[in-house]
Structure formats: structure tokens, C-alpha cells
Symmetry: C2
Subunit: 346 residues, 2 copies
């Protein structure tokens, strides 16, 4: 475990690690100091950072007297394949999934902390690309948010554990528990595209027991977009605050599938969500099963839907055993339990 030292510092010793003759050394060859300098060169200060990397901890402004905090981890195997995901993809996605959780509380993301466990034989360029992915995802999805701290360690299993912080700007958090009968059910962002991308990846680039790199030349129309949605999801992070300001009564991000997550929101609120299949696109089944797009699912008092959200149903009285209906029929959970189903390679 190592706290990030100040930018440009190599620790007290001032001794640079031996440079490999290779321009792109492994992590083990580069040593901690060079790995950290590589990351920090790609880590701009955020708008909320009162104290950034370089000390025992970061200090982040929390103007409204509370902080929203969430953590999500990507592990090689269950969560991604290195044959499919570049370092950039992985940095982007690790940021995006956490930013979506902050957004789903109605908060504005302010800071990320990144705990990175990397196999010793990974190249330094992988860490560079990962850092670029974090930076670009913050800039694109949550301007003002930045990586404020982190931790580096070696591991046999590439693991990226991110904590995201956010500010409620004086509003109450929008939880999963506030949906009221008569509210509109609405969604912002994609549902099902990332899931389609995953199925394309498995179908086309997983011939035996292991993933192989993506060959764009063999992809049919729309498949590139779906793969991109899986590897670099772009959740509508800015719409979390928009929803909160508009009076969203409940909200969550869709990470485990719309059917399962809608059921969770319904359960927390003690209601049933009655969805309209015709609002779920050309393939409602795919939309209900898909989760990794990290769309924002929210409920609003009837008639106040803010821009960016589309209505997909109505909140109704709880139906025993049927937290989610689609065109009146109960929808079974089509979720994903990482402890039982994770990873086709497992």
C-alpha cells in the first residue's frame, strides 16, 4: 500500500528507479515512483479538490455539509477481459459506473479515489492509458470532478476499485424509496445496448475458453456501437442533478438490468412499477435485461418530466410478488449475481 506522493516527487530518497532500455517497461521494472509520476501527469486538479494527491489523504470541498460516497470495483474476469478492454476503456468505465451511482442520488460528482492493483508484468503504457481514461470520463461525464487520490499495489488479478464522492448542493438525496402511486416512471440513457455489446463480444471474440481481441472488420452494422457501449458506457451523469431539481421522488442507476433494478426501486418504495412495452424500444426484452449502460431510472410526480428523461410507465399500488409489470404482465428479475454467475471463464 502506497499513498500517492506529491507530483514530481519520488519519495524521500530522490532515487529514480532504474530505467528499462524498453520505452514501455513493465510495472515491475518501472517501480513505484515512475508509475506514480505517469499517473499524476494525467491527473488534473478538480474543481472541488482542496488538497489533491501527495499526502495521507485528499481534502474535498463539501459546500452543503454532507458528502455522497459510493464504491464500485472492476475485476479482471468477472467484470472485464483484458483482451477486450484497453487500459483507456477500463479507466473510462471504472469512472463512469461510479459517477452514475453519485448521479443516481441527485448529486454532482466532485472527486474520485482510485485503488489500483496491477500485475507486475503489465506495461507502464497500460497505466498511462488507464489514467487517460479516468481523466477523459470525468471531463466528458462530470466536468469539475477529478481523481484526488489513490492507492497502488501489485496483484495477480488486475483490479480497479473506485470510490466516487459527490455534493447534494443543499438538496435531499434522491433515494430508491420515494416513489409514490401515480408518479411517472422515466429513464434517461441507454438500456440494453451495453448488454448487446457483451453478447456480441462473447459471440464473436470468445471462440474457446478465452477472450480474443476485437477485430472491427468483422462487425455488422450497430455492433461497434454496442461494443463501445459495453466497454466505455456513457451514462447521463449530468441528468442526476437535473432529475433532483425537477423533483424526482426516487432514482437509481440501472446496473444489474432494468427488470431487476426496477424491482429494487419498487421494493424500496413499497409500490409496483407498471411499464409500457412500447416505450422500451424495438426490443423490450433486451431493454429489460440490459443493465451495464447505467441509465438513470427515476420516478417523478405526473407531468414534471425534465428534459433528457422519457416516460416508460407509471407507479401503481404494490402487486404481491410482482414489483414490475410490463403491459400488465409480471416481469421476472433478470439480474445477475456475481457470486453465482460471474464470468464465462470462471
Amino acid at each position: 500500500m502506497v499513498d500517492l506522493p506529491a507530483p514530481g516527487s519520488d519519495g524521500a530518497d530522490g532515487v529514480l528507479p532504474p530505467l528499462s532500455s524498453d520505452d514501455d517497461p513493465t510495472i515491475g521494472e518501472a517501480g513505484e515512483g515512475r508509475v506514480l509520476r505517469t499517473i499524476l501527469a494525467r491527473t488534473p486538479a478538480g474543481a472541488f479538490s482542496l488538497l489533491g494527491p501527495g499526502d495521507d489523504a485528499a481534502v474535498i470541498a463539501t459546500p452543503s455539509g454532507s458528502v455522497v460516497a459510493t464504491t464500485d470495483t472492476l475485476v479482471e474476469g468477472p467484470d472485464f477481459r483484458s483482451a477486450w478492454s484497453s487500459g483507456y476503456d477500463l479507466g473510462w468505465k471504472s469512472a463512469a459506473v461510479n459517477l452514475a451511482d453519485v448521479a443516481a442520488m441527485g448529486a454532482r460528482p466532485t472527486a474520485l479515489l482510485v485503488a489500483l492493483a496491477v500485475p507486475r508484468d503489465r506495461r507502464l503504457s497500460f497505466v498511462s492509458a488507464l489514467s487517460d481514461g479516468f481523466r477523459d470520463a470525468c471531463a466528458a461525464l462530470a466536468p469539475g470532478c477529478a481523481v484526488v487520490g489513490g492507492d497502488l499495489t501489485v496483484s495477480a488479478t488486475l483490479t480497479v476499485a473506485v470510490t466516487a464522492l459527490g455534493d447534494l448542493e443543499g438538496r435531499r438525496a434522491v433515494t430508491r424509496a420515494g416513489a409514490r402511486i401515480g408518479d411517472d416512471v422515466a429513464i434517461a440513457g441507454e438500456t440494453g445496448l451495453a448488454g448487446l455489446g457483451l453478447s456480441v463480444l462473447f459471440r464473436r471474440f470468445h471462440p474457446g475458453t478465452a477472450a480474443v481481441p476485437v477485430d472491427p472488420s468483422v462487425l455488422a452494422e450497430g455492433e461497434s456501437e454496442a461494443i463501445e457501449a459495453q466497454l466505455r458506457p456513457a451514462p447521463p451523469v449530468g441528468l442526476g442533478v437535473v432529475a433532483a431539481v425537477a423533483g424526482a421522488t426516487a432514482m437509481m442507476d440501472v446496473s444489474d438490468g432494468l427488470a431487476l433494478d426496477a424491482g429494487r426501486l419498487a421494493g424500496a418504495s413499497g409500490v409496483t412499477l407498471a411499464l409500457d412495452a412500447e416505450t422500451l424500444g424495438a426490443d423490450p426484452g433486451r431493454a429489460l435485461a440490459g443493465g451495464e449502460d447505467h441509465a438513470l431510472l427515476a420516478t417523478f410526480p405526473a407531468g414534471v418530466l425534465p428534459p433528457g428523461f422519457r416516460r416508460i410507465g407509471t407507479v401503481v399500488q404494490a402487486v404481491e410478488g410482482a414489483p414490475v409489470l410490463c403491459d400488465g404482465d409480471p416481469v421476472g428479475p433478470r439480474g445477475w449475481d456475481p457470486y453465482r454467475d460471474a464470468g464465462a471463464d470462471a
Copy 2:
């Protein structure tokens, strides 16, 4: 990736995972719902938790308008051996090392977020014990602080990534950069005991290429205490606030060895720390090399040392190439670079 659901909830489906006939199923057999219930039953609410586990993110009170945040990861192999560390030890240590980082800023720890990546064949009792370790470490080291959120995933490599948050209570953060010439150098907590414990573990319980369980019956006097300091360190977390209130000019926790970390503080402050060997206990070499006790190293204006800190030297003008002196002689860094040296098993 799964956000912790509300206590007692098993998600929308309400379907319990199939129970193993075994009282202590593996994580894979237990399924996510039961693993989460096991953890949450051991996760009391904290004094600062405005919203705890069960939503996309937690909400933590930050009365002073900023939040201190840090992350540190324990990975099986480089950071611990399962033959030596129980689940309880691992939960305790994961909490303790992060609480120490918050304390080292002069802040009061308010919340932990835990990202847990567990091999599928681990027993549920391991997760129970881990949760107990988190709870007890918070209660013992940082009353009022609690686990407010987390993430669960499967991984081939057992990994515990913790983020700790803290509140400065209106004070400025105590960084590494404020030591002034003439200040006293002081320390609170153990230095070298955890390092001794690690050497005992390797010498006695690592006969070939792998660790074996600790057999207390073969330990000499003092060795049990040293092993306990390595596996369940008890940094003086509460003294971080005490130091800040007393006017500490710089502070950090000693995680990579006193010599190396003192050099970091010296470098950040642009000074040299002149230590007195006679203040470093019976074995100054061990004290200078030891790090994993997570002692608090701080500098204070001469004469204001608060209770719990002992003086170990003086801040002097920077000596080129010698950030740390001991009895006037330069002290080389005896640090630890996880990217090059991690793990005797590696």
C-alpha cells in the same frame, strides 16, 4: 458490481439463494443476498451516516464543509497471507490502515466504504469475521466511524479496498509540508513492532514457498505481541485530532518505514529531520525500518508536545541528500516498493 441493498432486503426478487446443507457455505453457494445480509447484520450505523447502505451511494455528514478521503488496499500475496490472517484480522487491519491515514491529516474518521473482491470458494464465515473486524476496529480506534457502503465482487485474488472519510472540524488539514526549523519531531504509537511480527511470521511460519498457520505454542516471549501488531495493528487514530488541536505543523502516518516516511515529510517540508537514536527504543534500527504499525509522525513548535506523543528529534535546515539524520549520521531510506519487492511468494 453490486451496491449493498437495504438491510434485510434480498433485492426485488425476494428469492433467497438455495441454502447449502453446510452451515458455512462457500460464497458461491451462499449467493449475493445471503452474503450481504451477513455483512449488514454486522454493520452498525455510524454517528455521521445520514444515509447508510441500501442505495446507490451513502450520504455522510461533513459539518465543516470539506471531507478528508483516502484509500488503501490489502491484496492477498503482497499485503497478507490467508494462512496468517483470519477474516477478522483482515477486516481490522483494512480499517486500521485507512483510519490512520485520516488521523494523519488531523481529521476525525467518519465513514468507511469497503470494496470486497472474494474468491468464490471462500466460506461465508470468513465474510462474517471480516465484517466483525471492521466493526471492532472502528469501535476501538475511531468511535462514531462506521462502514457506510461497499461493493462485492468475485475475484481469483482476495482483495479488500477501503476508502475512509473524515472531518476536519473546522481546522486546516495537517499536511506533510509544514515542518519548520526548530520544531520538535515526535511520534505516537509503535515503531518496529509490526515489522518484527512480519519477520517472526516469515521465520517461523513460512517453511518452504508458502505460509503455514501460526502455532502460538512455539512462540517465544514477545513474539505473540509482535505478530498481533502485524496482523491487527492499533494505530493511535484518536491522537490525530489531538495533534492538530495542539498545533502540529506537519504529520503523516508511518506505513513504509520511519526512515523512508520521515524522509518524505522532510522532503515535502524542505527540511531535514535530525533524530536522536536514544529516543528510538532498544533497537533504533528496527524502529527506523518498521512501518506497518502506522504510528503518527508529527512536528510541533518546540515545547507544545501533546499527551501521547514522544519527542524523537528536531527539525533542522535541509541537509543536501540527507533528509533524515540519526545522531548526526544520514539515514538511508529503508522503504518498501510494492512494485519491486512485494511478497516473498511472488
